[in-house]
Symmetry: D3
Subunit: 250 residues, 6 copies
């Protein structure tokens, strides 16, 4: 099985390789995992605007990855920006969003979960994501730790502490019995075990669970439903030749 | 009051002026309405992918329109592509999406409404829009007439007939008591009166209602909530100077 | 366009003229606004019982206003007492309830809103109103300030302070990002701008927004759905001649 | 235990005695049941307007019945008109609405129920009633048989046939596994056994179940919650002496 | 009418007679109430595992009770363990679960109710029960008093105090306007009147209300829906002769 | 990783080995899968009663499997009988139910799914399962093919045809865009690929997906939440020594 992890924003080469290496450690034995990154895009995604900015070049890269023969792809942002579009454009390659996938994993393990998100401004879109995933009924709260995404990795200890503190509020006040880390950079911090130990509830790492679920679905022979995510009508009907032609310049 | 209607895809100059002229006819006496169009974008929006493609240049144009002193803007697509992002980037200028606005108008006039949409592939996103608008409980069905958006205007009679037929199904089978035209091109066909006469229930024209609601809210002194649609943190904190800097090229 | 504001309880002539004058200031240029008041009814509406008491004479007045040629009517109480009945009895004149309309305006501007209501006893009916409006999903809380309606105007400063305090709880504890003033007397206090300045979220004035939305819908050529609000069968079938005959005395 | 059945519209004396006699047959051994009727009101209730018309004199009669020492009262219309107001005005006497009570009985016996209602125009209010009762999730459909209420009794056989036909649709198409007769005149037709035999699912007679549930709750020592249905503030605070003073004439 | 109360766990003979005697005091005049107890089962039910353990022998006893001619049965545990199975196996005898019945009684008396439950571990299943009853929308919270079921009766005063304290939280924090005692042992403590006096909201005793509702439904001629709770197919088709044959040993 | 598949009813040794062999084919390379079967239980599970009958001995076997060092267990029935109890009794070994897991997989791949179930009587419990899984919003219908479970395997072609026919109804009438096979025997028929080919939407095989998801979650280092599924209080507090002591005989 071949899985590709697609980073929807610009990222230093070194960090790309670090993440790829972690993903390869996590993968099942027979899985080949590669990480690719868009040539241009936002530096990090902390608003809906940045989510949208990331989509055009990511979608293009996804189509390319399908052509290269990958069986599954992980859209590397916990906001799942443009997941529905990526699925419209692909058919043989499963695309999963780690945000929805993590919420769904939390739903499988308990009754009520909370999402820990970096910024206040990301709270409303977390509810929309839970609606799209179909598990809104189990989302009891979204808690912001107010750490800019790009500082999460440079201030690991402080981040860890704030996440644990937010998680405790979720458990005590909102009756959460599972937690979702709502950001890929939190995922690659590799802190979920420590948080789990501190709080005593399952902590979903979107990076790890995104990969595992993609492997599980692909190995089950499943792809996203084309009845749910139809190919754009201009492409299906042959009116345009490639996805590039859907965008008209000047 | 100054209102701008922003077309999020490419459109022939003549059609732009035609629509602007209709909008000016519809406007209240003291309202100045202008129509502007993005320099580049999709030819029409019939998939989520095309929705996303339209957002970056539209958002930029929205910011420019706020700077030019408009009080309100209408995002000219019934899918409301990127409405939340446009609202993140503006504060003094109200931005409304005609899709959500039309659903809300339908909710004000009856108990259950249906949306008539051009293509099957647009059905799922209509439910998501109703969720975002907060009126999902009143949406009883979404019915596709299977006419490509760009043919709606060239085949007016056939379109009208199919819309009426779809509306009848909505009323008889799904108990709809109001209908929403789920596409701006349907709106500028100026067919809602004829449909209403044929079917006997209110028919919401997203173009007209989008304008009227924008005028009503602006004249009430209201803008979208910045607590709900926060300015992107990198801009708010001064880390970047303009929205262009949120996107990094090679 | 001719709009009438119908006061569903007894009110001093002077206060009637004061409110009429405010409404005329708020109206669009081409709109004629008049205020009429029932000859008999409750002194104020602070319970469901008083809501119901107000309906028979208000409904009669509504029918009269339709006959007089008004295009739209505002039912002057934020509980929207008998709105469905008023709509059953009218067809050419749009009737809007400022309670449902304000909630819907709040839904258009943010993700979660709270209602500020005068009395504890009005809390449950606010939830029912949100259900009828179809926006229950966005109503995060209803907060009572415990000021009798008739004291709201005599104790303006104290009322303002309590409303701001209640609004702050709504924002901080319940994550409201927009507020609705749940009482017309609050609306005619003309305090929404001050509250908005203090709290930083949109504050919906039901009197102003009720008028603006009525103007917007009427100017869109829309009326409430007669499929949703059918004419009473005894009238439709001709069994009784007038609405008076629906009530049998001794 | 003393239970009173309050008819909220005018009714021939003979029919009153017939219904009273049926109620007495249904009652538990130790229960005294009386039927009283408002001196003035609608001839039948087939619209929201007629519901509202019935409330003022019915509420007054309810208060009188509480003073006369009844333990429980049944509001004799399946639309439960003004139930919340009746509960605001009473404390020692339980007031139940047969509409909500019947829906709740259906919820106790199966998974999904349908309501059979006389007229199309009563369909929307049935959903609102189910919302108020808290069992909206179990209401799968409302089916109108299109028989005016006053003809239900004169055309018993035709009514029975149409109700059975409507019930069959509910069962086959909407997966109902219990039926509620949504009208008191249907209840006093004494047809539920025949319908049940024909269709094989429980058929809730609102008249019978309204009485039985009232007896059950009263004998459990329960009354409606005064925290939920607070006494109108003007009465509670002593500002007015009686409920009559809440209404001001000329 | 003959009603049987079936204890689904082992219980001392003396306590059985005490409870039977209380039930007989509560019953309507014409009702014969008997209490029977399974020969083997859990000592008390404080987990889902103990709920399930209780079902096989209780179901068998239920079938026997139907054969003995009882009109109605109360499943004597507020978790309603296996209620759906008991209903699958019976047809002429109504089976009610006091848990769902109490929630439904609370829904009939107010807008929002809370459940007071002995242990934290019982909280999630209370939400599931409310879903099954169809009244989840009215359940505002479940509050655990952390007293093992078997200590409830030996420490009556302490239990009473903790229940009142939990109820106060429910009322003040969660806006409950009615309370349900979520345990039969709480019911037979006969403390609901004291709690009601202390807190001023209706307090539902599942033991008493379970009996009263069973009497009300049976006397209305109603049984649970066999379309909702179908006889197991192997029995219906005659493939097995008795329910014992559904279980195969070694 | 060691995974055990626990059959909760009696099954012929040969069929056990056949299923085990299929499971081993499906497993990831590093996974050891074993199949164990309860010594006594129902012959098949087609009613809630049979679900409950299966739980006591299955729970015991689960506890034993945890002691034997398995990392994860699959409860081999698509009704997930007693899943919550199994999770109360285990901590180091993840227990998944293939019913909930399959629904969740369907939710990950589309917008609306339907369940194909063997018997009409299993329809209501499928809705309850979707509620427990948290994905009720995405379940659009449950369709019974009316084939007894034990005949599914002997009449493979007829079963396949009926499942395809039911699936077509789900897609065309109920807008399903993914299907769940609601029975393990359907899963081990190995027909999902054929159905998928015939219908063009993802078809979830509960046996395969149950295994894959168990592998994915275990390999993510996750277990079910003990805050959600607490150890029975009598065990936690040490009042009883083993789960056997929770059941008292004669």
């Amino acid at each position: 099985m071949k899985i590709v992890y697609v980073v929807p924003g610009v990222m230093a080469e070194e960090e790309q390789r670090r993440r790829e290496s972690i993903l390869r450690d996590w993968a099942f034995e027979g899985t080949q995992v590669d990480l690719v990154c868009v040539p241009e895009g936002p530096a990090s995604i902390e608003s809906m605007y940045e989510e949208y900015l990331s989509i055009p070049s990511t979608a293009k890269l996804m189509v390319e990855m399908e052509e290269r023969g990958y069986d599954g792809a992980i859209l590397g942002c916990a906001g799942d920006p443009g997941l529905d579009a990526m699925r419209e454009l692909t058919e043989k390659m499963l695309v999963v969003g780690p945000g929805q996938t993590s919420m769904i994993a939390a739903a499988m393990l308990g009754h009520k979960f909370s999402v820990i998100t970096p910024e206040e401004t990301l709270i409303p879109s977390s509810y929309e994501l839970a609606f799209k995933a179909g598990v809104l009924e189990k989302l009891t709260s979204v808690i912001a730790v107010n750490i800019p995404v790009l500082e999460l990795m440079t201030k690991r200890d402080q981040s860890l502490e704030k996440i644990i503190q937010g998680g405790r509020t979720a458990i005590d006040r909102d009756r959460a019995d599972a937690l979702v880390l709502g950001c890929m950079s939190m995922g690659f911090l590799e802190v979920s075990e420590e948080i789990e130990k501190a709080l005593g509830v399952p902590v979903i790492n979107p990076a790890k669970v995104g990969l595992k679920m993609a492997e599980a679905l692909v190995d089950s022979g499943l792809r996203h439903s084309k009845k749910a995510f139809g190919t754009p009508v201009k492409i299906r009907s042959g009116k345009v030749k490639s996805i590039d032609d859907l965008y008209q310049r000047g």
